[in-house]
Symmetry: C2
Amino acid sequence: MTFDPASLCFDANGLIPAVAQDADSGEVLMVAWMNVEAVAKTLDTGRVTYWSRSRQAFWIKGETSGHVQELVDFRLDCDRDCLLLQVRQTGPACHTNRRSCFYTAVRDSAEVELMAPDKEA
Amino acid sequence: MTFDPASLCFDANGLIPAVAQDADSGEVLMVAWMNVEAVAKTLDTGRVTYWSRSRQAFWIKGETSGHVQELVDFRLDCDRDCLLLQVRQTGPACHTNRRSCFYTAVRDSAEVELMAPDKEA
């Protein structure tokens, strides 16, 4: 069946959440949002492209930082309302220069920082 | 720093997306939503509890199916607007009886089914 990005279920703002996962290690790197055009651009170019809710513009991941995400596999869930992108991440995924945005855990009711920013980034 | 669920950034509907990941294999199992009380219940009980948008009710994962998610680690992202739950999943996570909800890939413009439903579930 040919895939049509418009067949996904977008929310009231025309967006769908996308989980980016390191294709090799399985680490969850970040979650961001796509609109229908961002989905099409990501599939067409193999470069992960989100929709920035704050800037209201396309966000080609790594375009300014160099921390690009090369698409390895594009998956959708059973309800077609969430995406899983397996990627090859160059450098840190997080704008804080950490490998993953999920660097804070809650353990014994306290916040714990799990990783420090990359030094050289 | 003591963690306060109300310190998370919830959307206009009072919800935050939560990615459930198998704590051992790293497989991304599903994405669902929580409100502030669901976050508190999950942390208090160690049993992952979502908010069902369709039923507008708490959804203690596995309460009827037995396919529970035991919380192993609770993480939040840099913007505090997304959660990553590392879990021990009993049985399939997906209501279609597949291990993961992300069983469809898009490859060469076509949808490909990556896994079949569990037989015995």
